[in-house]
């Protein structure tokens, strides 16, 4: 049995005196679709930041495919095959949609800091960028600066940038937040297709999305995971009912 894709062991995070994440333990198996749910301010985005290297844990350890990654810089973690999106859209506003996705393809295709290659004549970069634009339904908007896209389009671009590197572990922070029902449906289908065969960690508030998509679910309350299991187990868990689902039951 290979190592877990993500293994979070006894992670604590304090901002000043406030402990935001307390004794966090989380294990995501290879190829699993794992949803993290929890009330506002529970620390879901902070958990993403801790795993992706955006912030460092005060104590504890994070492993990616069996290797310790806590303490590494975000780009080092990204190069090891973990890619994340942001809850608040975080794109390259003045650059075109095409350039946004292409930049996210460059490192993974091995072009790195090259200053001796013409970026327009790299066939594999071009094909991959075109395919991702096609996947996220933004081909017709390819020359528009990302800052001028509609909200839903920006959210789709956010997903496109995240998956562009071909990372095997993909983390999406509320990808459908603020979308209409139709848009959400389309985005979920997109996520399902694009993360085929990959490990997915997703934060999501929409329970129908969560229970439809996830293989396993973890419930985070006040910086601590109170339950982790299959959707069926989570649905039945009395602690979860009390802390979280109870409020949404009707």
């Amino acid at each position: 049995m290979s190592a877990a894709a993500i293994e979070v062991r006894a992670v604590e995070k304090r901002f000043g005196n406030v402990g935001i994440i307390r004794d966090l333990n989380l294990s995501v198996a290879q190829g699993e679709r794992h949803a993290i749910i929890g009330p506002n301010g529970a620390g879901k985005s902070t958990t993403f930041n801790l795993i992706s290297g955006h912030i460092r844990p005060t104590s504890g350890e994070v492993k990616l495919n069996g290797d310790v990654i806590s303490g590494l810089r975000p780009f080092e973690i990204n190069r090891r095959g973990l890619s994340r999106s942001f809850q608040v859209t975080n794109v390259f506003a003045r650059m075109s949609v095409w350039e946004n996705v292409r930049c996210a393809v460059l490192w993974a295709t091995g072009h790195r800091y090259a200053f001796w290659k013409n970026v327009d004549s790299l066939p594999e970069v071009r094909e991959r960028t075109a395919r991702i634009l096609d996947d996220i339904h933004l081909t017709h908007r390819r020359d528009v600066p990302a800052g001028l896209l509609t909200y839903a389009e920006q959210r789709e671009l956010e997903i496109g940038i995240t998956i562009a590197s071909g990372a095997t572990v993909v983390m999406l922070d509320e990808p459908t937040a603020g979308m209409s029902n139709a848009e959400t449906e389309r985005a979920v289908a997109l996520i399902r297709r694009l993360t085929e065969g990959k490990t997915l960690v997703i934060v999501e508030h929409d329970m129908s999305v969560v229970f439809g998509l996830a293989d396993r679910i973890s419930v985070l309350v006040y910086g601590h995971i109170i339950a982790s299991g299959t959707p069926e187990e989570i649905r039945r868990d009395p602690k979860v009912k009390e802390a979280y689902l109870g409020e949404e039951a009707h």
Binding site: N90, V91, F92, Y113, N118, V119
Partner: protein, 430 residues
């Protein structure tokens, strides 16, 4: 899948169509550089063209930082100046050792001078962007400028390092004594540097620099270290600034502390910003305009810096995209064929705007010449700074001009809005 392939082939079409126009523009630029001295052959214009060529290379190098990577430097002249000193020392060494290196290769050593300093100082400087980078660049600029007066063996103190460009080995029988030959040398390096700097924008590093400019945080999550990106951009900018400094050293046959001081750093920021940082050709326009203004204004007024300041403030306030941004705003209107609806309002606005400008000029000159008493010559009309008539004319021009100009500007804005709406409806982004 089919859509993916069509979009790829569409891209290929697009880039080959763009490619033709692209080569045409560059070839026209090169042709212009070749024939310019044949049309304007006076010594004065040759000197101006040479200075402009140097200023363009310098401004383009600055835009690698400001426009492409989002780094605001107040000390870019350090690399220019060190390039100049490196070139002077190299020329003197070539002469004294009898090395077989002709003059046209010297700017390369200027570039290396700028590059080496960038390599040494850049890693620490580019750790952070924004205000931190700007402040450090200011400090380094001051540091190097003051060192240049203290370290006499390298910088030659107040008098600087002199050299004789004609003493180097000849190439194609050219001695590079006449200004015309120096002009062509500068033009050659201008073309070479401009092509190289343009090519740089089309590389993976160039595109990632743009990404770092837009959002350094997100860059980290697509595999890049923004620090490395900034550092590499800084090194390229240092190299091409050094080339410009080397060209200046050849042109003036001297390098001194003025090359690397704050005034020079301010001037390149000024040129680049006025020209417009968002387009590759912006700094070229800025360098041409600022060099001409500098040459032209210094001969007619002693307070030319004041005019620079006013122009700068005007651009920052009314056209943050610079001249290039102003020009490119018209592109969607041209494509949609609605530009002609705006042009008349421009003509209407010219008269009061020029009147306002004349009023401002008259006011400034009156104030600056009041105690000296020299007469003011405004487009052939004489004014006495002590005469109340002058004051009244200035006041009328400023107040009346501003009042009427505002009305006409509003008409431009209205006409513009209508034209842009039509352009947008026709599918051209405005």
């Amino acid at each position: 899948m089919t859509t993916a392939t069509t979009s790829t082939s569409k891209l290929a079409d697009k880039s080959s169509g763009d490619g033709l126009r692209f080569y045409a523009v560059w070839l026209m630029g090169i042709a212009a550089l070749i024939v310019l001295p044949m049309i304007f052959s006076s010594g004065g214009s040759l000197t101006s063209f040479s200075l402009i060529g140097i200023a363009i290379v310098f401004a383009l190098s600055y835009n690698i930082l400001l426009g492409q990577t989002g780094l605001l430097s107040f000390g870019h002249a350090v690399h220019y100046g060190l390039g100049g000193f490196a070139a002077c020392h190299m020329m003197n060494a070539v002469v004294s050792h009898g090395w077989p290196i002709p003059l046209p290769f010297i700017p390369l050593f200027g570039g290396l001078g700028g590059l080496v300093f960038a390599i040494i100082i850049g890693w620490v400087m580019t750790k952070r962007a924004g205000t931190v980078f700007a402040m450090i660049s200011l400090g380094i600029g001051e540091l190097v400028a003051s060192s240049s007066l203290i370290l006499r063996s390298v910088f030659g103190g107040e008098s600087g390092i002199t050299t004789d460009r004609t003493a180097l080995p000849k190439m194609f029988g050219w001695s590079f004594g006449p200004q015309l030959q120096v002009y062509y040398l500068i033009a050659f390096w201008l073309v070479l540097s401009a092509i190289a700097m343009y090519a740089l924008t089309r590389t993976p590093l160039g595109r990632i620099s743009n990404a770092v400019r837009d959002n350094p945080e997100r860059v980290q999550f697509i595999g890049y270290d923004p620090h490395v990106v900034r550092y590499l951009a800084f090194c390229f900018a240092g190299f091409f600034a050094g080339v410009a400094g080397g060209l200046a050293a050849i042109n003036f046959e001297i390098a001194n502390s003025a090359y690397l001081g704050a005034i020079q750093s301010g001037l390149v920021l000024f040129s680049t910003f006025i020209g417009g940082t968002a387009y590759f050709f912006g700094p070229i326009l800025g360098a041409i305009l600022v060099t001409y203004l500098q040459l032209g204004l210094t001969s007619v007024t002693s307070v030319w810096q004041l005019y620079f300041g006013i122009i700068f403030i005007g651009i920052v306030m009314f056209s943050p995209g610079g001249i290039a941004g102003l020009l490119m705003m018209h592109r969607p209107l041209v494509r949609a064929g609605t530009l002609w609806t705006v042009i008349p309002s421009y003509f209407v606005a010219i008269v009061p705007t020029v009147a306002l400008a004349c009023g401002v000029i008259l006011t400034i000159e009156t104030v600056s010449r009041y105690s000296g008493g020299e007469a003011i010559n405004l487009f052939g009309i004489g004014f006495k700074p002590q005469s109340p008539v002058t004051w009244i004319v200035a006041a009328v021009l400023v107040v009346g001009g501003a009042f009427v100009a505002r009305l006409t500007w509003r008409r431009i804005a209205d006409a513009w809005d209508r034209a842009a709406t039509v352009a947008r409806d026709r599918g051209y982004l405005a």
